[in-house]
Amino acid sequence: MNKLVKAGDVIARLRDGMTIGIGGWGPRRKPMALVREILRSPLKDLTVVAYGGADVGMLCAAGKVKKLVFAFVSLDFIPLEPYFRAARQAGAIEVMEIDEGMLVLGLKAAAMRTPFIPTRTGLGTDVLRYLPEIKLVDSPYDDRQWVAMPALPLDVALLHVDRADARGVCQVKGPDLYMDDLYARAATHTYVTCDELVEPAAFEQGEEARYVFWERTQTTGVVHVPCGAHPTSCAPLYGFDVKHFKEYVASAKDAGGWAQYYERYIACGEEEYLRRVGGAEAVKKLPLPVF
């Protein structure tokens, strides 16, 4: 099966009001080329599920988000995401604010096709106060109440990986998969951008197949976008673009800042975007972050 598609084809399959999971973590391995494609589209009223970074910030800035399911939105080395912050402080988005681990369990429950997973996480906190839809349940095995973390099924998951083949076999060689495998399993359709498009034989070599974390049955479509995670990192291929993030964050200080950022980096299209951020060679030289 040939699952190769263009970024525009992926976005054309999305609908207003869909629940969209975005892989990666904060400033790391986000499918930013697809996020930018959403920003260029008329899509609206999205429910976004993410360990959020600038992906969430940009979607908030562009008014695409109706509801956000999140544990944090942060660029890590710049702790506060300015456009997410502005959207929250304006009361512009609905939120389902949950613990990082509860998000794992919600995706896992959806992936397992169970309605919930019991956990102690969330007990005693305002997470439950602000989310009456998350219920406490009695255990059939002890006398305690447990949090029943509901499944978080996704209409679509958007992910970025190091390399993939046309069948949808995806490889991540960075030190952390984040929860991308759970996103792929929790979603009805999963679209993946890859830095490198390879032949199936590439996975037959050495230990290459050990870096494949979900089966191609979970991958709906593959888009070849070199540097598609920029300005987020795709370790070990490239680090995140500190300079670009600083420019992005600084743009939020001006009333027309987002419009200017959009004009310069989004409206121009993906090919011109890569040129404006210095080209593929420059991106691949971005140093890996040291924590």
């Binding site: 999140f70 402080q89 794992v104 996480t121 997470v127």
Partner: protein, 255 residues
């Protein structure tokens, strides 16, 4: 006392948090907690596990900042999924930096303001606080001890659970919650007062108990005798110089 000396005193006092933990994962979020955990692993609890703050458990603490030729000593993989496996199993003691803490030890890094739907100040979100606080031991580092940080009522968003009986679910006991030390720029405190009341343990040089109480939005338990926070030893200072070769900790109190 110069800020550099004070920060070293604070880090050394904070490292004591892990002394009796045995073989658990020590996580310090932010430079002071991370250096404190690193110091603990090299001194009072050599059985601790730490990560490189990215994706590996390392056999010795990784120096902060640019590493030069230093190569991390990997022990096992510890991506985020593994972190949650560890959290849920309970064998971890994290030291974190909440924006607000209340009398119950409930802590907040999510948002500030009276209206949750429209925060006055949006911060990070609850992150892993709910799971950390109900699963394993936690300590706090608060660099600016004030009534803004140690609030009079409950914190604006209870991100981590504390010793608040009103919030217990059926079948759960307060004793299952494990909040250890609160280290600030003024003092060290714990929850050893009557009924888990916040107790003053030691005062940093030049600080009085009255000053701490004034800077705290709720009544503290102040024992008849409160010690001075010990000064760092020569050995501890030498280790800190190795763990923080660029002196990044000097500005950790905002100096």
């Amino acid at each position: 006392m110069s800020n550099t000396t004070l920060i070293d005193t604070i880090i050394c006092a904070a490292s004591e948090a892990w002394r009796h933990d045995g073989e658990v994962l020590a996580t310090g979020i932010g430079i002071v907690p991370r250096l404190a955990a690193s110091l603990a692993m090299l001194t009072c609890n050599r059985d601790l596990l730490m990560t490189d703050s990215e994706a590996w458990v390392v056999s010795e603490p990784v120096p902060v900042g640019p590493r030069g030729d230093y190569r991390i000593k990997r022990e096992t993989h510890m991506g985020f999924a593994r972190i949650f496996d560890n959290v849920w199993g309970g064998r971890r003691h994290a030291m974190v930096g909440p924006t607000q803490v209340d009398r119950y030890g409930q802590a907040n890094i999510s948002m500030v303001g009276a209206d949750y739907r429209k925060p006055k100040v949006q911060m990070l979100g609850v992150r892993g606080f709910p799971g950390n606080s109900i699963n394993h031991a936690n300590s706090f580092f608060v660099p600016n001890h004030s009534t803004r940080a140690f609030v009079e009522g409950e914190v604006d968003m209870v991100a981590s659970v504390g010793y608040n009986p009103a919030r217990l679910a059926r079948g759960w006991q307060l004793d299952e919650i494990d909040i250890r030390l609160i280290i600030t720029n003024l003092c060290v405190m714990d929850f050893g007062g009557p009924g888990h009341q916040v107790r003053l343990c030691s005062l940093h040089p030049g600080v009085t108990a009255e000053a701490v109480q004034q800077a705290t939005g709720f009544p503290l338990h102040v024992p008849a005798e409160v010690k001075s926070t010990p000064a760092p030893t020569t050995e501890q200072l030498a280790l800190l110089a190795r763990l923080d070769p660029h002196g990044l900790r000097a500005s950790a109190l905002g100096a």
